[in-house]
């Protein structure tokens, strides 16, 4: 049975898109996929900007013109955590992202400041930085 829902896809940000829940799968249309992840399905494969990743089994990636998020994550070698019935999925970091981008830079992260307000890493500017990770736990 297929159910139409508004799903939250969490990648670098949380984006709500129309989706279908089908037999434990979460399916999103091409436009929703682009809005949530920046990736598009093209004849040459999955593409974001100038980067394209070939898709070996396109029939497995799409169901009735919609993209199966689990197959999408697998094609990009990214972990996926999924609660299809809850309409929410997290796309984890690809292994190549560990340590930053291919040039070795840390991604511009969306964080919170000490007042709980949005803060972007890049706002720290061009200086040497010591990042100290701590926690209340």
């Amino acid at each position: 049975m297929t159910t139409q829902i508004d799903a939250v896809v969490i990648d670098t940000a949380e984006v709500t898109v129309p989706a279908e829940v089908d037999d434990g799968r979460l399916l999103v249309g091409p436009d929703a996929l682009r809005r949530a992840t920046g990736w598009e399905l093209k004849p040459e494969g999955l593409c974001r900007g100038e980067v394209c990743v070939p898709v070996r089994d396109r029939d497995r990636l799409t169901v009735g013109g919609r993209v199966d998020l689990a197959a999408f994550a697998e094609a990009l070698h990214r972990p996926l955590a999924l609660e299809a019935a809850e309409g929410v999925a997290v796309l984890g970091e690809p292994s190549a992202a560990v340590g930053g981008d291919p040039a070795g830079r840390l991604a511009d992260l969306d964080l919170l400041d000490d007042a709980g307000q949005p803060f972007r890493w890049s706002a720290l500017g061009r200086k040497k930085k010591l990042l100290v990770a701590w926690a209340s736990w």
Partner: protein, 186 residues
């Protein structure tokens, strides 16, 4: 950078009264990108946002030295030399080569942790518990998951579940606890 929920971090931030930016990363994206598996971890990042020194365990002082087995001042001295004179630690190449790389299971666990935290914030406790359990199964020695998810599971991060984990971790040889100033092999 607090790897924490904003409410949990806020009282500590207020008490610290720091003059430098105190940031919160409830999604643990910095930890996922940098491979941070425990706290306190320090990462050196240069003017171009390139990682100069991968995560090392770096206590602020020697308060818990009996547990950490780390002389905190060693990291402090190395940090001052880098900031003031651009001098890098002598063993940095070996440190970089030996820096832990997150496995596929580690990265999958972190996706489960992030989803579990999202669901917990939304009050969807049953689904959150499923995701947090999956994270804990996959990353058994990762403090950001094993200890970091205890509050979301309604468990005390300073109570029995933590000490049970701690014993497992010590029996496994304290994995992921590399540090300058370490007084014994990690």
């Amino acid at each position: 950078m607090a790897l924490d929920e904003a409410e949990a971090a806020s009282e500590w931030i207020a008490a610290a009264g720091a003059t430098y930016p105190m940031l919160i990363d409830p999604d643990h994206r910095s930890a996922d990108l940098l491979g941070i598996v425990n706290v306190p971890s320090a990462v050196w990042i240069d003017e171009d946002d390139c990682v100069v020194r991968p995560p090392v365990i770096a206590p602020g002082d020697d308060t818990f030295r009996e547990f950490t087995k780390i002389d905190a001042e060693v990291h402090h001295d190395q940090l001052r030399a880098w900031v003031r004179e651009g001098v890098l630690p002598p063993d940095l190449d070996a440190e970089r080569a030996g820096a832990p790389v997150l496995s596929d299971d580690d990265r999958q666990a972190r996706a489960h942790r992030r989803l579990g935290a999202y669901l917990h914030r939304a009050g969807r406790d049953e689904a959150a518990a499923r995701q947090l359990a999956a994270a804990n199964r996959l990353a058994a020695m990762d403090w950001t998951i094993r200890r970091g998810t205890l509050p979301m599971q309604g468990l005390d991060p300073f109570g029995t579940p933590f000490f049970d984990f701690y014993q497992e971790w010590e029996a496994a040889g304290r994995p992921g606890y590399g540090a300058p100033g370490s007084t014994e092999a990690s």
